[in-house]
Amino acid sequence: MSSHSSEGDLVKHGDNYINHSAGIKSWLNTLDHKRIGMMYLFTVMIFFLIGGFFALGIRLELFSPGMQFMTPDTYNRFFTYHGAIMVFMVIIPLIPAAMGNFILPMQLGAKDVAFPRWNLVSYYIYVTGALIAASTLFLKGVDTGWTFYTPYSIRSNSSATFVLLGAFIMGFSSILTGLNFIVTIHKLRAPGLTWGRLPLFVWALYATSIIQVLATPVLAITLLLLILERTLGIGVFDPKLGGDPVLFQHFFWFYSHPAVYIMILPAMGVISELVPVFSRKPIFGYKAIAGATFGIALVSFIVWGHHLFVSGQSEFANFVFSLITMFVAIPTGVKVFSWLGTMYKGSLRFDTPMLYVFGFLFVFTIGGLTGVFLAVVSIDVHLTDTYFVIAHFHYVMVGGTIMAFLGGIHYWFPKFSGKMYHESLAKFACWLVMIGFNVTFFPQFIVGTLGMPRRYADYLPQFTNYNRASTVGSWILALGLFITAYNLFRSMKTGKAAGDNPWGGLTLEWQTTSPPPFENFKYDPVVTEGPYEYKGDRIGMGINA
């Protein structure tokens, strides 16, 4: 602070990052991590809406056997856009780039991320890539599935090249965010904030960033090779020219399996923040959770082959990948039991964020356990490309990541906006989301084991009831999400003032005003203890006390 102590005086009473400067340009050119985080959040939500539109379209078509209102070609485009948008444009940036951008520097007691300008660049790279990919909606569309498997993706007469280019470009945004976070965590921790005192959300983002930095470049070269395959016919993935289509699957999953953990690790980080705050207890197994985070990150790089069990891969490779995949369950179990251990004998409070924690634990555990089924080669061979797989990864990605995101957004909403959302409406919406989600996806486990294949526009009549339930569930889920969005948007204007620390959180973002001032803190924070030291009168802090 030495040469800039005068800036402390600029923080007038009531000054915050939202009213610090006015006009649309002050947002578009901002270097403030909080504003960039909010811009990410709104943009990601727009794509969430578009991706959700395609999901509802898929479910509507599948309401009855036979073709309802789509051609099979349209259906192929619907599930491709749903997958590609939700993976590349929503779930990957959702928690790190949107929420992490806002919260990470604050939890570190820093004024900003290490490279604010690159942070803004990463946002515009994301928007550029997303727009290029989305522009194909008005061209010939794309029908390859979000996995772009060769050789079909080489010959598909669609605008796949632009979607590949868009995903390629968005990768750089992901790399920049990861790089920025790693350096920020290393270099910008407040005095006293030792590695052993870092909030677990920070640990989660650190592990996520490492995966982003190590895996995304491999996706970049894979997509680039596929683009060159489509434009110049270089032939490396094309069996007709001597290339190997299975090689594409290896390249693709070397990124995309770790990417699954780019999606889930930050979600686990959010849960690790919420559980101690709403249990009013120190986290159980701090080191175990932080270590498990890195355990998952490490294992994530050596399990990609479980996506290739039916590709003709050698049986020995299948055996090894199957075994390593089951190891994922160990650190994951460590985390789940640590959260339960934290709740044990705690003073639990059932505010909306905590409801989402319970939702997360319930559905994520189902998602995780069915992942163990799929890791067993003999079972996977039967379940590959059925709705069982669809249900499994939706339980992990939607039930895991989206639930944690919703818990996190309710938890940090008072910090983002300074206002409190409508509690009972939020709880009502949470129940709708929970019920809608399970009604949508649980029948898919059953119909998958009965043999209904994924990615088909039609199905046999005996699967009708399961599909009807699933479609009705999708409406309930959508209603819950719309009510949540309505609640949060309305509360930004009309919500009552939340106060600086409505939950009695002990991490640094709660030790400043809401919304936070331009450089986050009026005084440079100094840290003297760990982030979850709930004892004595701290247990009773917060609005309900």
């Binding site: 491999v218 680039l224 032939g235």
Partner: protein
């Protein structure tokens, strides 16, 4: 930190508001640069893996096809790039000592070496394009009978092409450095951009050091 009002020389320069000191900022930039280089290594590793797999699948084809490359040209370019790494290192050292004229001179020399590299590459490429020695489906060279030979040139053009793109990006950054060095912005207090460009440039050279034997000297 804004430089728009005028020239900020090394001695007057302050660090960005969220860092404690100029040194802390430098250390952060350096760490960021190394992480970036790690991503570059992984980016190229995909292509090296592809190369290795083709070597395993088609060993004799790779050997036959590589004879169409002129190893003398490759060797010349290797020497050129090694020289450019030397001049780049000298530029960094001059920047640390704040010797403005030397910074400008050494970066210009590095730039000229890079031009030399691209000129040699231009002759190689245009010869191949003229003969029809092209990647994959575009191949129409009659004299080499080795089956799948176009795949070797797919890898050759992709790897050298992406490497060449890195050279061109490096050259653009050098022009920007020269402009800033002439305004006397670099000195013992602040030489971050020169040092970072140096790291990048050595990486680009290093990639070529691997590309040359793998592509031109297959045995």
């Amino acid at each position: 930190m804004s430089t728009s009002q005028g020239v900020v020389t090394s001695a007057e320069r302050h660090h960005a508001h969220h860092f404690e000191s100029g040194l802390a900022e430098f250390e952060a930039c350096k760490q960021g640069m190394w992480i970036f280089l790690v991503t570059e290594v992984l980016f190229f590793s995909g292509m090296f893996l592809l190369y290795a797999i083709l070597r395993v699948f088609y060993p004799s084809m790779m050997h036959d096809a590589h004879h169409l490359l002129n190893w003398k040209m490759g060797a010349l370019n290797t020497v050129i790039l090694i020289c450019s790494s030397l001049t780049m290192a000298l530029a960094v050292s001059a920047a640390q000592r704040g010797e403005k004229d030397k910074i400008v001179r050494y970066i210009w020399l590095t730039f000229l070496f890079s031009c030399g590299f691209l000129v040699v590459k231009f002759f190689e490429y245009s010869h191949k394009i003229h003969e029809g020695i092209l990647p994959g489906a575009l191949w129409h060279y009659e004299e080499l009978k080795a089956a799948k030979a176009p795949l070797f040139f797919s890898v050759y053009f992709v790897m050298t092409g992406i490497h060449g793109l890195h050279v061109i990006i490096g050259m653009a950054v050098m022009l920007w450095l020269i402009k800033r060095a002439k305004r006397n912005e670099f000195g013992p207090e602040y030489f971050t951009p020169v040092e970072m460009t140096g790291l990048y440039w050595h990486f680009v050279d290093l990639v070529w050091i691997y590309l040359f034997p793998l592509l031109y000297l297959v045995s």
